[in-house]
């Protein structure tokens, strides 16, 4: 057993800005900010403290690994013989500070698609490799949270470099990876008692997630349901907007466009959503998923069956954003229960 107390540190709340200031010397720090009485992950401005009094951010920090709009290639000064490529700028190392465990889990889900033995998406990998994760224990999971349905939990440290717990008076800081430990080595050592405090907070949080849907048998169950009429029932109130997919930390469909003006241009990758009528529209004009029920089926099948078949993991982390933000309250937990009962 390694001595865990060695990597336990703590930081008084009023010393946090000093710590962030230190981090900013070597890193770009992306942290929760109060935008308009809701929270988004954004780059902190000079001397700005992260806004840590939040449940979870409206959008996940997925966009820092898989940007909604991302240039694949830029070129300028095209002649009939040459397409001069604009070279990539050096990337500064980044820290995502205060990421909830569900969102950290979503990265391990995306990793399997974007960085695997058959294929590596260099754009994703570059952003991933250059970013350290400061996870943030989820003391008050929302009623719509169900991270415990998956290989995660409100205090899961998996995938983080440093893990922060708000104990009320102070932040308990744990170094998880070697890199993470190094960054916090100058902070004052934490008392062993802090671990006990943490486990009490964790227990309370776990107890508050009372009815997470059981997803274990869902992938298998979905296999026989492609033609089932249930999809029409589930999707009847769906408006066909992209809220669920664009707020989802694991949705990853994209579309590639060329934008050219005169002799200058870019090839650009943009998020796409299976909820949209133009999604996978064929050049011939044929649309394989013409109706809303087919699109809803695609979303659920992709997350809970196809992804599991391809990568041995369900593409959902239980953050509940699709539940809270859907304009017509389509609740994926209900869908999962309906499917289980079929």
């Amino acid at each position: 057993m390694k001595d865990s107390s060695k990597s336990i540190k703590h930081i008084e709340k009023d010393k946090l800005s000093e710590f962030i200031k230190q981090l900013r010397k070597d890193f770009t720090v992306i942290a929760p900010r109060n935008v308009k009485d809701f929270v988004l992950f954004q780059e902190l401005k000079a001397d700005e403290e992260p806004y840590l009094d939040f449940l979870n951010s409206r959008q996940s920090p997925k966009e820092y690994f898989f940007p909604q709009t991302e240039n694949i290639v830029e070129y300028e000064g095209v002649t009939d013989k040459r397409v001069p490529i604009v070279t990539e700028k050096q990337m500064r190392k980044r820290i995502i500070f205060g990421m909830r465990p569900c969102d950290v889990t979503s990265l391990s889900i995306l990793d399997r698609l974007f960085v695997n033995e058959d294929y590596v998406d260099n754009y994703y990998k570059r952003l991933r490799d250059n970013t350290l994760i400061f996870g943030f224990g989820c003391s008050y999971p929302r009623t719509t949270c169900f991270c415990t349905s998956f290989d995660s939990g409100p205090f899961s440290t998996k995938g983080t470099d440093v893990f922060i717990t708000d104990s009320g008076d102070t932040f308990i800081i744990e170094g998880i990876t070697e890199q993470g430990k190094k960054l916090i080595e100058k902070l004052p050592d934490g008392d062993k008692k802090l671990l006990k405090t943490k486990s009490e907070i964790e227990k309370k949080a776990l107890d508050s997630i009372t009815t997470p849907p059981d997803v274990e048998k869902i992938p298998e169950k979905l296999k026989g349901l492609f033609e089932n009429p249930v999809w029409e029932v589930i999707s009847e109130r769906c408006l066909g907007c992209g809220v669920c997919t664009y707020l989802c930390p694991t949705c990853h469909c994209f579309d590639i466009q060329d934008e050219v003006i005169d002799n200058k241009g870019r090839r650009v990758k943009n998020w796409d959503s299976c909820m949209f009528p133009i999604f996978t529209l064929h050049g011939s004009g044929h649309q394989p998923r013409e109706f809303r029920f087919q699109r809803m089926r695609q979303r659920i099948m992709h997350k809970f069956n196809y992804y599991d078949e391809n990568f041995d993991i369900i593409a959902c982390c239980g953050c509940g954003r699709c539940v809270t933000e859907c304009p017509v309250n389509i609740d994926v937990r209900e869908i999962l229960r309906t499917i289980s009962e079929l």
């Binding site: 809701f38 939040f54 449940l55 992209g242 707020l247 304009p327 309250n329």
Partner: protein
Amino acid sequence: MNKIEKKIREIAGKLLKDKKVKLIIGFEKGTLPLKARPTFVRKPEEVEKLIWNPFCENNLAVYIPFYRRYLDNGETIGVIAKGCDARSLILHIQENIEKREQIFIIGIPCEGILDRKRIEKEAFPGEITEVSEKDDTILVKGNGFEKTLKKKDFLCEDCIVCSHRKPVVYDELVEGDVKETEAADRQNQIKEFESKEPDERWKIFTEEVSRCIRCYACRNACPACYCKECFVDCSKPQWLGTTVDSETDLQLFQIIRTFHLAGRCVNCGSCSRACPMDINISLLVNKLSVDAKRLFDYETGIDVNEKPVLNKYSEDDSNEGFFEEH
């Protein structure tokens, strides 16, 4: 069960039993405390799930174009309609989406929808887990949090200045009259915005729109946005880029959508309520409604037999905007 709910169920049950309608679109209890959600009832025994409360925020007219197959078969659809929902249905009828006799409007005298997002902010950064209604107030509870809020302080902005709480056209009206609000002055709602210098207005607009993630929830929640192919989805030719790093793409989407709604918007506020980034989308369209009223003395969705304002021409029409007078 409140009085309105009881009456809704009674009317809906009878319509379905008598086979007068194929389907009734109404609201049911959702899985979130501050939200009722659209529901679809086809059997008389299912009417028990129909509810009514100030969280019935969606404009249900939005669903009618999805039931083309019913309309083409000559079926009738029943809709539980607030004042704004009914006006959207009238707009549809004027624009030949559905025929008047194919829609059975169960009119609700609406006292205004409560702004879920503003109520949630009362608990920010916490969460509201329970809500109950009592007369003019609601009681909201959360983790170590309890507050009594006056309904009138949390009405949606568009409901505060609503001019037709009671549906102007209906087939059956649920009892319980409602007073039209004294503040029914949309001009007033946008006065502050209008009084600003153009540069300042542009700044507000661009800042709001910069948060847009192009999920199109505003468009899809809107009953007037029923184009078979929206201009943003058109790929042959492609009118608009699909990026979010180009300000032009974001701004153009909102500007063009707004102009498509000129004289067609009923100011239900569904677009703003649907927006996951809390963009004040209705501000723009409301300006156009005020203009339609001022220039053409026109209000959307009032008279089934009237043409939409931009579909008719009269020699007396205002020339403002065409001929600048100096």
